[in-house]
Amino acid sequence: MKPNRIVAALQLAPASVYYSALFGAPLLVLVAYSFYTTENFDFVPEFTLDNYVTAWTSEVYRTYFIRTLRISAITAAVIAVVAFFYSYVITYTLRAHRSLLYFFVLVSMFGGYLVRIYAWRSIFGTEGIANSALMSTGIIAEPLDLLRNGEFAIIIAMINFYLPLGILPIYAAMQNVGPGQIEAAQDLGSSRLGAAGKIVLPLALRGVTVAFVFTFIATAAEWLTPQLLGGTEDQMIGNRIAYQFGAGFDWPLGAALAVTLVVVLAVLLGALFTVVRRWVR
């Protein structure tokens, strides 16, 4: 081995060991478990594909997967749009105040996750702040279903939780697009919005894609938010996976569901990257 390759391998070693131990190995264990058989509430190493057959063919799990992907896609898309414009404002419009605005993004990550879920609980609900305010001002006579526990509440809360995760990569990508390029577009007759769409968006598209991907992955694995803010038919696949690893006593099925989720996400996001790469070209 050449000396520079030895140095490269040594430099990679700490991160490789770290990820192998804390990410790679657990994932491999999960994959191994997904081929196990469950007998008498115990999982035994007898190879079977039954867990995947159940995960892929059961109408129940298909419903959970589709709901999960729908909720995550909506959440990630909204985050990508909001994060793009927020980053645009920080970077170009209110550049003088960008430290403060950037600080606001970080501050929103300080609140405890659970605390924020409970804060949203007080906003949504039949007599939550949202419905009460609308009813007290006479805008509505009856509580709105939309503002009760349900999918809308889950999406709004997750947008709040994960928005910083979307802003950070887009903001970083925009640092490579100088204000001069926008000014040039405007000098050539483009509006501010037009410049954002035609100049900044294509150049920062990788950042937007990463923002979408980060938040899509994170929200697809959610289980606590739907549990606390969802209605009785709004649980996501994460809730079922958690259940199978607990009172369901069926780790192999839980593992197959988890691996399936990883595969589905990888395929969908792979397709997204391919489309984006072609578009950027």
């Binding site: 391998a9 990679l12 131990a21 790679g24 491999l28 115990d42 129940v60 959970y64 209605g231 006593f249």
Partner: protein, 382 residues
């Protein structure tokens, strides 16, 4: 990167996987079991640190504080109201000396092998256990071996806000909650037990002994019930919060302690029973298979079912006592709301009978797994 580096990495990954898999066999295990015969050594807990996982407030934190100080012992608590988390923790080999065992999950916990047999013959206070608990089939496996000691119980009422829900004589049918007027006004727990049990009785079946056809009918009604509910409550505290905030008016799976908890926050709650019967609950403590201090854990459990601790637990949890010698002492106190004679003094009483199918069911009858599958279908919304 060279092939050698890649090959080296692959070998390292394979070795790591092999090592991890070697440590990953089902069912925790590997812990200490209570040993010896005769009464447990009263010094078994001296200087010991016991670890508990389960429902907060049921680990004897306040009730045995003085006893722990006398023995220079420490109690470490991992709180969880989610039995799935508790089971997963023990199943994955995490070391705990004590854990909560709830009535609804008891049979699965026992059959799942997460607890070890409890040496009741060595517990000095077991002889005073109320017959309805001591004889319960739920704390036993198929061979009659006991795995947990109940420490608190209640009779499973529904709890509601009387200022928002008019319920005559505190009586209601579970089928009433499937009507449009109850839409989004109540919560229930994400488990089929009580709902299926009550609905089965309401439809004239012999719950929990249901045939597949009967289960299908029960599930169809339960689907309407679930769709009518505002949400799933994650625990009693959560259900109380939702009623106090005015979000819902009733919780199907209630507990009298919720009334006191809501009163402290200025909201009046009341409780009643479904026409379809009462479904008692109890919570027990058991010794996980991963316990490292099983002898001390057994001694600690013996203290928890003793008279002094029981009187305090009843007051703190507003629960029934499990020690016959402690019943008298709760009279006139906040927990004096239970009818012991009709609930726990007769081992044949139905209040604490199985509300869900036992793990071994006769041919032609549905198992608890069938109930869970039906529930999963309902809650998926498919």
């Amino acid at each position: 990167m060279s092939h050698r580096v890649i090959r080296g990495g692959a070998i390292a990954a394979a070795l790591t996987l092999t090592t991890v898999l070697a440590g990953c066999t089902g069912g925790g295990g590997g812990g200490e079991t209570p040993t010896g015969s005769g009464p447990i050594d009263p010094t078994a807990c001296d200087g010991v640190t016991l670890s508990f996982i389960g429902l907060d407030g049921e680990q004897g934190d306040k009730e045995l504080a003085d006893w722990r100080a006398e023995h220079d012992m420490t109690l470490q608590t991992t709180s969880t109201a989610d039995m799935s988390q508790l089971i997963a923790a023990i199943k994955s080999g995490q070391q705990f000396d004590l854990a909560t065992m709830t009535k609804d999950d008891a049979q699965r916990m026992v059959e799942g092998g997460i607890f070890q047999a409890l040496p009741t013959e060595r517990l000095g206070n077991w002889a005073d256990m109320v017959p309805g608990m001591a004889e319960s089939s739920n704390i036993r496996d198929a061979d009659g071996v006991i795995y947990g000691a109940p420490i608190a119980w209640g009779d499973g009422p529904f709890v509601y806000r009387p200022d928002k829900a008019e319920i005559v004589d505190d009586r209601l049918s579970i089928l009433d909650l499937t009507k449009p007027e109850w839409k989004d006004r109540f919560v229930l727990f994400n488990s089929p037990g009580r709902s299926f049990y009550f609905i089965g009785n309401a439809l004239g079946f012999d719950s929990p002994n249901l045939t597949p056809e009967e289960l299908e009918e029960v599930a169809a009604t339960a689907k309407t019930l679930v769709q009518n509910a505002a949400a799933f409550a994650t625990n009693y505290q959560d259900a109380t919060d939702r009623m106090v905030s005015g979000d819902v008016d009733l919780v199907i799976n209630g507990w009298q302690a919720q009334v006191a908890a809501a009163a402290e926050r200025g909201v009046t709650l009341d409780w009643g029973y479904f026409d379809e019967g009462r479904t008692g609950w109890w919570d027990a403590i058991a010794i996980p298979t991963t316990a490292q201090n099983a002898e001390c854990a057994a001694l600690y459990i013996d203290q928890m079912i003793g008279v002094d601790a029981q009187v305090q637990i009843a007051e703190n949890l507003i629960s029934g006592v499990v020690n016959t010698q402690a019943i008298e002492a709760t009279a006139g106190g906040p927990a004096d709301v239970y009818d012991y004679e009709s609930s726990v003094m007769d081992p044949t009483t139905n209040v604490f009978g199985p509300m869900i199918p036992q793990e071994d069911v006769p041919d032609g009858m549905t198992s608890y797994q069938d109930w869970l599958d039906a529930w999963e279908q309902i809650t998926s919304g498919s």
